[in-house]
Symmetry: C2
Subunit: 95 residues, 2 copies
Amino acid sequence: MTIKLTDQEISDALAQLKGWELREGKLCADLEFENFISAFAFMTKIAMHAEKIDHHPEWRNVYRNLSIALTTHDAGGLSAKDLALAHAIDQELGR
Amino acid sequence: MTIKLTDQEISDALAQLKGWELREGKLCADLEFENFISAFAFMTKIAMHAEKIDHHPEWRNVYRNLSIALTTHDAGGLSAKDLALAHAIDQELGR
């Protein structure tokens, strides 16, 4: 069982992340790329990170748009794993 | 402007495809793979087909599940492009 973050921990984390917001308890970001190739290439990078840390995003891609939602099912909310993945995504975005 | 398929054409096409259904006018399929690696590997194959025929899916991936919705925005409905992509997906699935 993964430990769920407290509201305070989530609030502190959001202040450090860029372009993320809470929606229905999930950590969400909407990204727009130049085109489909760029969007899917980015997804491929994140897929590698996700598999490596064994924590995977819920994500939806439509052409150059990518919406990501992070949550930890076995914690019943957000956990440190979501923050790690969000930070990896921010780093890949260079933001 | 891409030509929109008629209801009859859509009905005929659905009879030839496997595991697809209409939802809100879009051609949809829900797929389940062994794990995330398999799901994302499949998405990568389809991404190549999509880019090649310049027609891209709306798709959502959550771990080993992949939901695909096909539509042609500039036709205002389904077109032959959606059928081509659906057939390519069926072929990759070996079904």
